[in-house]
């Protein structure tokens, strides 16, 4: 199946892929969580990953910024291969933003400080400049007025938007989203998705683990379906939803749509 995927993508663009995952495996002790994952992501491409819980989709994107270690195969991000080399890992993380299911804002810092900590300490941006940058991205996620509050004082939807802005402040080349809306109350999901759609339209390279099929249909270039640690099917959203090839995909889609 892997050779098929490569063939299918090659004509789409001649750029070197910004993320390459080649024959990647991962185990938790004896449990084989990821099996022979092959994936190429091009610059500005938007990919939505879906699949039942426990299928390894979060683990896969967490491997891309080395929050999880893979045991076999290769992951190359922005030209850097992920190995045990800490410097390389830090370099990759600087270029890859990540948004978590539970926001993971720093509760002891104000919103503004949450946003400036990365630029100031990793990018060595002067404080004043970092604050201007932070305010710029708070405008983009539409909550500049919350800058001096603490994360505990704002709603979940606002917190998730702050988390997106925090990643953007690092000016990443790639954004990973790990179920960004699944911990949110229904009325807050839209405000977060709107921000993500804006971001997609700006041309950000995005990998989104999500069950928001509406979002997948609007912004995704490709939808990937995972089950039992494997990539079962990948296709453009139109084909994926209207004409799923694989039995397991059909079953999954019938359950969530």
């Amino acid at each position: 199946m892997s050779s098929e995927q490569v063939n299918k993508q090659t004509p789409a663009s001649n750029d070197k892929p910004i993320i390459e995952i080649i024959k990647m495996h991962k185990w938790y002790d004896d449990f084989h969580v990821l099996k022979d994952i092959n994936l190429e992501v091009r610059h500005k491409e938007k990919i939505v990953v879906c699949g039942p819980s426990g299928s390894g989709k979060s683990t896969m994107i967490r491997c891309i910024n080395r929050l999880e270690e893979h045991q076999r195969g290769k992951i190359i991000v922005n030209g850097i291969e992920l190995t045990r080399d800490l410097k390389d890992i830090e370099r990759v993380r600087t270029e890859v933003g990540m948004v978590f299911q539970h926001f993971n804002l720093f509760p002891h810092l104000t919103i503004l400080e949450n946003l400036t900590v990365g630029p100031i300490w990793v990018r060595k941006t002067p404080k004043k400049e970092a604050e201007e940058l932070a305010m710029h991205y708070l405008e983009i996620v539409r909550i500049p007025e919350q800058a001096n509050k603490y994360p505990g004082q704002i709603s979940g939807g606002q917190q998730q938007r702050v988390a997106i802005a925090r990643s953007l402040c690092m000016k990443p080349k790639i954004m990973l989203f790990d179920e960004p809306t699944s911990a949110l109350d229904p009325e807050m999901i839209k405000e977060v998705l709107d921000v993500m759609v804006d971001l997609a339209q700006e041309g950000m390279t995005m990998i989104v683990v999500s069950h928001e099929m509406g979002f997948a249909k609007t912004v995704a270039d490709r939808v990937i379906f995972m089950d039992f640690g494997e990539i079962v099917e990948e296709n453009n959203p139109h084909e994926f939803f209207d004409n799923p090839q694989h039995e397991r995909t059909q079953l999954f889609l019938s359950q969530i749509l």
Partner: protein, 365 residues
């Protein structure tokens, strides 16, 4: 005029003095009995104590007159106050430790608001410590040199506690981080250190520092006895701090580490900026408990013949003139310990409150 709902007052039995007494002292059979028993006990004890401590007491007499009085003999303190506080420090030079202590306490009070902590305050502290050291040790600027073996009483207690707390806290944090480390050698070193230290009593450590340690030094090399006791206290306290801090680190949500890492922060930045500020805050109450114990445990240096304030008190009581007045003398020392420990406890609560307010104010918009 009809009363609206807002104007209805709570029933009289629930408010005011009577309401309070009912609710808090006579709320049911058990609490009524408890109240009466405690009251009866207080009535028996308190007037007697007041009679002894204040009415029949003598304050500025000789030990002879004390033996004739029926009440408390506070003279044991007033007549020996300088020896009690300064011990064997040369009599004419005792103004020096006095000023050193005033500087120390003044500096602590001045620095209590941590929003004022900055580089400048750091330099002021360095200067203050230098002045205190100069005052205690002398040998410069026309001050007579006083060997550290003569340092005793309250200055010694404060010295051992202050540096004990100051050095053991960061050392404990480093040990806790080491114990969590992925590097096996560092990790096992920290585990062995922590478990070994926690496996022996402080007295043993003090003995080892004063008796055994010099045996390992080359001939002619000596290390100050106070310094050795100080080191033992620091090493001992740090092991306990380390375990408490480890608890705080374990209480941290894994997501905090992941968020910090995914921003590209390196290990030290992550710990310093994200993890430790939160983890150390969680463990303020047990940490202060350990620091207070450390303060009180400095009194164990009596075992290696250092004269801290408890030991100077004891030596006063061995003089024939003052034997038999241990109650009074120990009450005095207890008060000094109490004031110090209570201040530490209050200060920690102040810090906790400030941090609490910072991160958990209810939403207001």
């Amino acid at each position: 005029m009809s009363t609206t709902i807002e104007e209805i007052k709570p029933p009289a039995t629930n408010v005011g003095v009577i309401g309070w007494i009912r609710q808090n002292l006579f709320n049911g059979l058990f609490s009524s009995i408890a109240t009466i028993v405690i009251l009866a006990g207080l009535i028996r004890v308190v007037p007697q104590f007041i009679q002894w401590a204040f009415i029949d007491s003598v304050w500025f007499t000789s030990g002879q007159e004390c033996h004739e009085a029926t009440g408390a003999c506070w003279s044991v303190i007033t007549q020996n106050i300088r020896f009690n506080i300064f011990g064997y420090y040369p009599y004419e030079e005792q103004w020096r430790p006095l000023i050193a202590m005033i500087i120390l306490i003044g500096m602590l009070i001045y620095s209590r608001d941590w929003n004022k902590w900055n580089k400048r305050l750091g330099y002021i502290w360095l200067f203050a410590l230098f002045v205190m050291g100069l005052l205690m040790k002398g040998g410069l600027l026309g001050l007579v040199s006083v060997e550290s073996t003569k340092w005793s009483g309250l200055p010694l207690t404060l010295l051992l506690s202050f540096f004990g707390i100051l050095a053991s806290y960061p050392l404990g944090v480093v040990l806790a981080l080491g114990r969590q480390s992925n590097m096996p050698i560092i990790k096992s070193l920290c585990v062995v250190y922590i478990e070994m230290i926690r496996g022996v009593p402080l007295i043993t450590m003090l003995f080892m520092s004063s008796v055994m340690f010099p045996l390992f030094l080359p001939e002619g090399v000596t290390i100050d006895k106070v310094l050795r006791a100080q080191a033992a206290i620091i090493l001992f306290t740090a092991a306990y701090i380390a375990e408490v801090v480890r608890g705080g680190l374990q209480a941290m949500d894994k997501g905090q580490y992941e968020a910090a890492e995914s921003l590209g922060l390196n290990y030290f930045q992550m710990m310093r900026l994200i993890i430790l500020p939160q983890a150390l805050k969680i463990v303020i109450p047990p940490t202060v408990g350990i620091l207070i114990s450390a303060f009180k445990d400095t009194s164990l240096v009596v075992i290696i013949a250092l004269y801290d304030i408890l030991n100077t008190t004891k030596s006063i009581l061995t003089e024939p003139e003052w034997t038999g007045f241990s109650t009074e003398a120990y009450i005095f020392v207890a008060m000094i310990y109490y004031v110090c420990c209570f201040s530490m406890s209050q200060y920690s609560r102040k810090i906790e409150k400030e941090l609490e307010y910072k991160s958990n104010t209810p939403q207001s918009s």
